[in-house]
């Protein structure tokens, strides 16, 4: 599959504050790429760069296999971003959706058709909603209109910044369906930033995790931020969690501060009985809170609550069946010390 975006050593900063440092990232054409990570990890900044709303400070950004610099205006016609905090013009819903089409010189008749189609895609009846003024919409409706504004453009790339953050369940489902249909009908490449991993796993064909301005693995990675302290003669780092249990890790690489450790869900072993942990293994008990099917890997992702922190473990569907897992069960998670890797974030380096 061709990559529509290729980023190499792309950085961005707001003033002195370094916000983004993406060593390498490829986004395949026609796919649905999820971006996930905690608040402030740089998702919105990255999306604005992908939307060509702000140029990166440095680095190489290829669009469609060719350098993008100098073509920004032209590319902006093909790429559109639904901002994290959506905004409607002080006009009717119809005029809002028609605005971008008017810019592109699309005929009146075609505009009518496209507005109707875009509204249907987000589950809004044209007769009811098209003549409404901007202020007579609920939060979820405004979000769906904002999405319809972008869908009407039939863009080559659709970037969505936390589209489900402030909407109800029903709207979240409608937004998901609209995204899937856009990809199927027009081959639109979609990039979505979201906190909602379960929702994201339902739509995304791949997931990119972000932390502190950097890309960290497949997005399912557990990030354990704690009060890491050196303990014992072997310079092991220990973090004591709310419940009083300990997590032990090896010392970080030189130059990296012991602030945040990443733990891949695939490195966690799940059992139902309290297992005695072999030396050098962490073993903690927790409650299973949620299970979801991970479309990108075909595995089951188990979300658990371990005394205040949540950890995700990835298991095979067979194991899930064998253990007869269901939410609410007590589980034991174990993982080797070496599986924990301290990662650096910008600003702490």
């Amino acid at each position: 599959m061709k990559n529509i975006y290729s980023l190499r050593a792309v950085t961005h900063s707001y003033g002195e504050h370094h916000t983004l440092d993406v060593e390498s990232l490829d986004i395949p054409e026609g796919g649905v790429t999820g971006l996930t990570g905690p608040n402030g990890s740089g998702k919105s900044t990255l999306l604005k760069i992908l939307a060509f709303l702000q140029p990166p400070r440095s680095g190489k950004l290829l669009f469609g296999g060719e350098p993008s610099s100098g073509r920004e205006r032209e590319i902006r016609r093909d790429v559109t971003l639904l901002l994290q905090d959506p905004f409607l013009l002080r006009r009717t819903v119809f005029e809002n959706i028609a605005y971008g089409l008017k810019l592109r010189g699309i005929s009146r008749a075609e505009t009518e058709t496209r507005v109707r189609d875009a509204m249907a895609r987000v589950g809004m009846a044209t007769e009811d909603f098209a003549p409404r003024p901007w202020f007579r919409l609920s939060g979820g409706e405004a979000q769906r209109v904002s999405l319809a504004v972008r869908l009407a453009l039939r863009p080559r790339v659709l970037l969505l910044d936390e589209p489900t953050a402030n909407v109800d369940e029903a709207s979240a489902i409608l937004i998901k369906e609209a995204v899937v249909r856009a990809r199927r009908d027009w081959g639109t490449t979609i990039v979505i930033a979201s906190h909602d991993l379960a929702w994201l796993h339902d739509v995304a064909t791949e997931i990119v995790g972000m932390y502190g301005g950097r890309v960290v693995g497949d997005g399912a990675a557990n990030l354990i931020r704690g009060d890491w302290r050196i303990e014992g003669p072997e310079d092991r780092y220990v973090s004591i969690m709310l419940d009083g249990f300990k997590i032990t890790a090896d010392a970080p690489q030189p130059g990296i501060l012991a602030k945040c450790a990443a733990l891949s869900p695939s490195d966690i072993n799940v059992t139902v009985s309290p297992a005695a942990s072999p030396d050098g293994h962490n073993s903690i008990s927790c409650t299973l809170t949620q299970m979801s099917m991970e479309r990108t890997t075909g595995s089951i992702l188990c979300a658990t609550d371990c005394g205040g922190i949540s950890l995700k473990a990835r298991i095979s569907p067979d194991l899930a069946r064998e253990l007869k897992l269901c939410p609410g069960m007590r589980l034991t998670l174990s993982f080797p010390r070496e599986a924990l890797k301290f990662i650096s974030s910008l600003g702490s380096v």
Partner: protein, 231 residues
């Protein structure tokens, strides 16, 4: 106290049986206001937009000058314009002194800072997400500027109404540049000043009521337009 209520009832009677001289003052006021407002808006809106929309060196200084001019006294405007358009002044050949056009120049100078300052302010107070949103839809350059101007149309209306308030209520400029000449440059406000000076409260009150009625009609029209724009 009695003479005030008496004056009020007499005023109603006067309005109903208005003489031609008074209607003339009303006509001058309307013509003068239309001229001043047309000039103020066609110069002030673009200047205010430029001041609010673009970043340029000296922007803060320009803001401060405009804000200071908001407090310009009418008599100072009258004095300066008088100096320019009187027979001895550099524009004396245009014969503008004691004409409605000369008065309109003074009123325009009086109202311009209001329209410029309020327009610039309205454009600066536009939601920060607006420009970003327009960019995501592919708008740039003049298209983005035009849409931004349309987004603050209600604030622009307020700017126009405020400027109108200043223009229609002032006496100093009309008196100094118009000369309060009967049948010619006498406006409602200069007529009120004159009649009150002569002790004719009833006529003064009648003229005041007429002035308010004109403003009321104007605002009713605007509010109708605004409701149409909202729907």
């Amino acid at each position: 106290m009695n003479y005030i209520t008496e004056g009020f009832f007499q005023a109603i009677g006067l309005i109903l049986s208005m003489d031609e001289e008074t209607w003339q003052a009303v006509g001058v006021t309307v013509r003068l206001t239309v001229m001043s407002m047309a000039a103020t808006l066609s110069v002030g809106l673009p200047l205010g937009f430029l001041l609010g929309y673009f970043d340029f060196p000296g922007k803060r200084g320009a803001h401060m000058v405009v804000d200071t001019l908001l407090a310009l006294p009418t008599v100072v405007v009258g004095l300066v314009v008088y100096a320019f358009i009187s027979n001895r002044g550099p524009l004396g050949d245009l014969r503008l002194l004691f004409t409605i056009r000369g008065m309109a120049i003074g009123q325009t100078i009086l109202a311009l800072p209001i329209v410029i300052a309020l327009t610039a302010n309205a454009v600066e107070c536009l939601d920060g997400r607006l420009r970003m949103t327009l960019a995501t839809l592919g708008a740039g350059g003049w298209r983005m500027a035009a849409t931004s101007l349309r987004e603050c149309r209600f604030a622009l209306m307020a700017a126009a109404v405020t400027a109108y308030g200043r223009v229609v209520a002032e006496v100093g400029v009309s008196m100094m540049l118009g000369g309060n000449i009967k049948w010619h440059t006498r406006t409602i406000t200069t007529a009120i000043t004159l009649e009150t000076g002569k002790g004719d409260f009833a006529l003064g009150i009648a003229l005041g009521i007429l002035l308010l009625a004109i403003s009321f009609a104007l605002n009713a029209g605007l509010s109708f337009l605004k409701r149409r724009a909202d729907a």
